[in-house]
Symmetry: C2
Subunit: 235 residues, 2 copies
DNA sequence: AATGCCATCATTGGATCCATTGATCCGACT
DNA sequence: AGTCGGATCAATGGATCCAATGATGGCATT
């Protein structure tokens, strides 16, 4: 261990530790957030190169905050960095995507269990409205936005510091493949998803959390199985 | 969206993307790994300050790779960075630790399901041996090392790119509290854990994956419930 | 004497410059 | 003609320097 001599002084110090607030660098965080939004909204495709200099120029900054931003995005799994070579938008294999969905199947019901008791009647009404809007969604981007809004609203009652952000990262990592898959289908043609959403809202209205968890599990699982039938979407 | 004009050129480019290998910076990665080991082995305690300059001096490098290393550790949840202020070893609240354990309860059985079919008779024999060694473990550090080795061996058959690393991060984030909790107990006094480990190995030997998953779930859950009875370990 | 304000200082964030690594292209050799 | 090897070039990794922010201590004032 190389960090021995300072350790005891440090452990003794325990200076006023922050409240867990992960507020971060000014420029680097701004760049990371903008890039994240760009990636999630489909501006970049998996496999495309991210040149530090180009990004630095876009944000009118030096390459240094860009490097730190890329590091953050790598942590989110959105970017893949190879030493001395460069950064690329992460490209998931079918196997990796499958794992992510299986994690979601098991973790999101837990988040729902945290959230459900705090959902208000207004939230439930809004959920019903979102289902209707999705049934009438014309284009893919609207559909995706509403779908995310729907599920995030079901989770909005959860006051969690780990679970919520974890689920959000899982959603972000698979966002591109959700878009690609949605494009394959006629958004209004696939009515199963709307039925599932309705069942979920109904269970939440009855405060039947176990049934809600089951429906959510099945919803994610069915999506995964359908996704697995389209290996052409992957590398 | 600020990154529009280069997007189309980038999406078209799709230059040879790397194989998902997250190999990384030479110095920054070395620093990150060393710091990670130091944190996990208990050299630093939660809440202790990490000064960039001190670390840079320890590793005979400039502050720049240290900053990137801290960023990586922040991504792992081991370090908390506050803008313009500094970095601290992450301090989990009881609620956060509880969430992590609940995630583990649901995710680790899935990883076990991936691993079980690939476990060899030699692996199973080694697992039995580890249980015996744990029963005779004299000190806390040995106990912790064997416990980690045992569980990681049960997962060693899993060829996963997402799940495995995810579980490892969950273990790392809670390592300090596992140590603190273990110290409270007489390592040899608590025989429940050894019974659970034996049940797990037995189920794996019978290739009864469902029972193995149940035992593992209960094992993690029981640990969580006992941990929750010791709020004095947290901030 | 206690408290609030101000100045100094320590520490982090960012920019520029240099070193190093990896990729591409051309030429020579088989 | 094809392939292997080397040289050039582009892009990343790291070091040093400068700016800005937060913290600490002393001083004055009430």
């Amino acid at each position: 261990m190389t960090a021995t001599e300072t350790a005891d002084t440090e452990t003794a110090a325990t200076e006023a530790a922050p409240a867990t607030g992960t507020r971060d660098g000014i420029a680097s965080q701004r760049i990371a957030n903008s890039l994240r939004d760009a990636i999630l909204s489909g501006v970049y495709s998996p496999g495309s190169r991210l040149r530090q200099e180009d990004i630095a120029e876009q944000f009118d900054a030096s390459r240094l905050p860009v490097r730190e931003a890329l590091r953050s995005l790598q942590a989110d799994g959105l970017v893949t960095i190879v030493a001395n070579t460069g950064a690329w938008i992460s490209r998931l294999s079918l196997a990796e995507c499958r794992e992510m969905y299986q994690i979601r199947e098991r973790v999101e019901p837990l988040l729902l269990k945290y959230s459900q008791p705090m959902l208000t009647p207004a939230d439930l009404a809004h959920l019903e409205s979102l289902v209707h809007q999705m049934e009438n969604a014309a284009d893919v981007e609207t559909f995706l936005r509403l779908d995310r809004e729907f599920h995030m609203l079901t989770y909005s009652g959860a006051d969690t510091l780990i679970l919520g952000p974890t689920v959000e990262r899982l959603w972000n990592s698979t966002q591109h493949y959700r878009r690609a898959f949605t494009k394959l289908q006629n958004p209004r043609g696939n009515s199963v998803i709307h039925h599932e959403h309705n069942l979920l809202v109904a269970a939440l209205q009855r405060t039947d959390i176990e049934e809600a968890e089951r429906v959510l599990f099945g919803h994610i699982r069915r999506t995964r199985l359908e996704l697995e039938r389209h290996p052409e979407l992957f590398a």
